[in-house]
């Protein structure tokens, strides 16, 4: 078999794996947003029948998995491996959520880039023949994320205008070797990029350099320009991060502004939903991909997109100890076929 590596950070799959199905589950606010009608399931209570934010997130993740598996006409035991992760300490939303499925699993942490990390690993596993069907899943929950990274929900404070709103949502994807209309033709795995910003309330600015790095690397590794993609879709740079990304890419001699979409901007209506700089969280990119992007690729409306979820790799400890907020972004090339 000839080598599938391209450039320094990318893989081009000789026999590309396919995305067989996806599931998306969101909370109330996301359901009221512009993409509201496209999600598979909306829970108006945000609690998913559970008592705590964390349990709610786990249940949400399990439901997304079951939806994706069910839509592919499969059962949990048909899935060979699962790649999953979330934002909580020790990844408990995933461990507690997918336990009932009894699928051999790898737990991931890539902050909000986890959907890209999980999809890339799933595609690599399927393409390498390590499994015929692989499940990728991730989630975030506004309540558990605020509690973990910021303040109790009842605490009275003013969010800065650069702050983003963590999406309550979970997206799951079955990747496999059976043919569908969506294939993953390649991936570009991102490096950690740190421009020294310390403001965890301005995550778009922290992650934009990583997105720029991965997008430029993808162009170079595959010998492409932005012209060869219908859209380049980042995960959760939001309004400020997206602007910064356009500037950074321009500095490198490219212009992607009219081809760029951001899940953090698509998820909420900025005027009416009071989400400041846009949506964020693992669930932001994952549910937008599952509910909004993949159907357009499946129908052929979009022929080839570059999906680039971005993550801010900080913890409350690193933040308190004065460390900067490093970013990471993974690129997944998704094509109609």
């Amino acid at each position: 078999m000839s080598s599938m590596t391209r450039g320094t950070q990318s893989i081009y799959f000789g026999e590309p794996p396919f995305i067989l199905s996806s599931g998306s589950v969101v909370g109330k606010k996301e359901g009221e947003g512009p993409l509201g009608t496209q999600f598979d399931m909306i829970d108006e209570t945000n609690m998913f029948g559970e008592e705590t934010w964390e349990a709610a997130e786990s249940t949400m993740q399990k439901q997304a998995c079951l939806l994706a598996i069910g839509k592919a006409g499969l059962k949990p035991q048909d899935i060979r491996y699962l790649y999953g992760g979330d934002l909580l300490r020790q990844g408990i939303a995933t461990s507690m959520g997918v336990e009932a499925l009894q699928i051999p699993m790898f737990g991931l942490f890539g902050a909000c880039s986890t959907s890209g990390e999980a999809l890339a690993l799933s595609a690599m596993s399927a393409a390498a023949g390590y499994g015929d069907r692989i499940l990728a899943v991730t989630s975030s929950h506004f309540g558990s994320a605020e509690k973990e990274f910021r303040f109790p929900l009842g605490y009275a404070n003013q969010r800065p205008l650069s702050a983003q709103w963590t999406v309550t949502g979970s997206g799951a994807f079955v990747v496999g070797i059976e043919r569908s209309h969506i294939r993953v033709s390649g991936v570009t795995i991102g490096k950690i990029v740190d421009y020294g910003l310390k403001d965890s309330q301005n995550m778009g600015a922290c992650m934009a350099p990583a997105a720029c790095d991965t997008i430029m690397r993808n162009f170079e590794d595959f010998g492409r320009t932005g012209e060869e993609y219908d859209y380049i879709i980042t995960g959760d740079l939001g309004y400020i991060g997206s602007d910064i990304l356009h500037d950074l890419v321009k500095k490198k001699g490219n212009d992607i502004a009219d081809k760029h979409l951001d899940c953090g901007k698509l998820m909420f209506d900025q005027q009416s939903q009071d989400t400041h700089a846009g949506g964020s969280g693992c669930g932001c990119a994952a549910t937008t991909l599952a509910a909004h992007i993949l159907p357009k690729v499946a129908s052929g409306e979009w022929q080839r997109i570059l999906f680039v979820p971005t993550g801010a790799l900080m913890s409350t400890v690193s933040y308190n100890e004065g460390e900067s907020v490093p970013g990471i972004a993974h690129g997944v090339v998704i094509e109609h076929c």
């Binding site: 109790p152 009842g154 605490y155 003013q158 020294g196 910003l197 400020i240 910064i244």
Partner: protein, 158 residues
């Protein structure tokens, strides 16, 4: 490709400056006006309670204690009904600085961490936000007390 440390620092500094210019900020003047209004209303309510207590024959200390207790109760209730965050979102520091803001900073962790248990949840975490205020408040009082004591010792009349 490897950057020298100096180049990296220069790049970081330039980026930080650039991000600062790109990032919108709340309008400070508008925020100050709102804070003045909200803080003023809270303090007026407090004054009304104090006046009422005095009119019922309580002395200054007793009136002050009743005022603080009633404001704290109102704030805790508003926090429980999830109304206080909306007041603070609009009123900013006007809602944070009075005693009602302090009550909110104790009540909100109690609500949030209740699910982690009475001891490790509420017990350990109730002062996660108010703790620093209490600690440094006491330390500051102690320092001021010491200065007061020393001044008295050298015969300064205050």
């Amino acid at each position: 490709m490897a950057q020298t440390l100096e180049e990296k620092q220069k790049q970081e500094k330039a980026y930080q400056q650039y991000v600062k210019e790109k990032t919108p900020q709340h309008n400070v003047f508008a925020n100050m006006c709102k804070a003045f209004l909200v803080g003023g209303i809270i303090c007026t309510i407090g004054q009304a309670i104090t006046n009422y207590c005095s009119s019922r024959g309580l002395d200054d200390t007793q009136s002050g204690a009743w005022t603080a207790m009633i404001l704290v109760l109102i704030s805790a209730l508003l926090t429980g009904f999830n109304l206080y965050p909306s007041i603070a979102k609009w009123g900013g520091a006007g809602a944070l600085v009075p005693i009602t803001g302090f009550a909110n900073s104790v009540a909100s962790p109690a609500i949030e961490y209740k699910k982690e248990g009475q001891v490790f949840g509420i017990g350990c975490k109730i002062f996660t936000i108010a703790g620093p205020v209490i600690l440094y408040g006491i330390v500051t009082s102690w320092v001021l007390g010491l200065i007061y004591y020393l001044l008295m010792k050298v015969g300064v009349q205050l």
